[in-house]
Symmetry: C2
Subunit: 150 residues, 2 copies
């Protein structure tokens, strides 16, 4: 579900992280919070096509550093960005949830509800983080057949 937040809340978020409240940053925030799926870098660029590409990259980078968003690569290796759900902190992400990549509409869903089961790795491997990727049909596309959603 897309989180509904006011512009005031986005301004607060920026302030909390010692980031200046600028128009480009507020627009990126409000776009990403309005969706329940991750946003691909190409999509971001085309929607925000009046903002300089480099500015976009830098905004995404600081947001990621600050733990506001996280980056996830889809099946094609394309970067997707999604808001972090709960307890991400600066340089310390907790995005160990399942990422679902729909093969029809290409959307990437962050399924935060799902916990990743404990896994025992072969001797010597010292895992620090896990992510699971699943691909298949999302609810909208499994209903509609393979019709394009969005």
């Amino acid at each position: 579900m897309a989180q509904v937040k006011s512009n005031y809340q986005f301004e607060d978020m920026l302030q909390k992280h010692n980031l200046k409240k600028t128009a480009p940053r507020l627009r990126v925030l409000s776009m990403m919070y309005s969706k329940n799926t991750a946003t691909s870098q190409p999509d971001l660029e085309s929607v925000m096509n009046d903002i300089d590409r480099v500015t976009l990259y830098r905004i995404l980078n600081v947001f990621e550093e600050k733990g506001i968003i996280h980056k996830v690569f889809d099946l094609n290796g394309t970067a997707n960005y999604a808001v972090c759900h709960s307890d991400c902190q600066e340089n310390h992400h907790h995005d160990e949830h399942l990422h679902f990549n729909c093969t029809a509409c290409k959307n990437v869903y962050c399924l935060n509800e799902l916990n990743i089961p404990k896994l025992t790795l072969p001797a010597g491997f010292e895992p620090q983080a896990f992510t699971i990727y699943a691909s298949g049909l999302c609810p909208k596309c499994s209903k509609k057949g393979t019709a394009k959603v969005n």
Copy 2:
């Protein structure tokens, strides 16, 4: 463990998939089979720098189509290629194993032994494939601290 195969076996592999036995293809095969980790696209390019970049892309693509290798993106979104372990067939990969990305040496290990536990997704999601990524220290690097391995 790197699989030891002779050039004859690589030629057989190509023949079995109706691919011509060419020098570039044999070199790519023997390189990938000599390693127990995936090979990044940049690494491949620099090792095979006398082979045309486009040829390399095309070789990797057919090998992937034929189920000889599979592609996996590492933490930075870089493409990595690894030999498929057992029952991959043309256009039907079974690479549902765990990919371990070492944060020190950057190597990507395919841990085929490990089975991925069954997961139940929220209603409506129809998963067709899973991959788990883990990151942390691989056996070599956890021993050596953060020293560069290879």
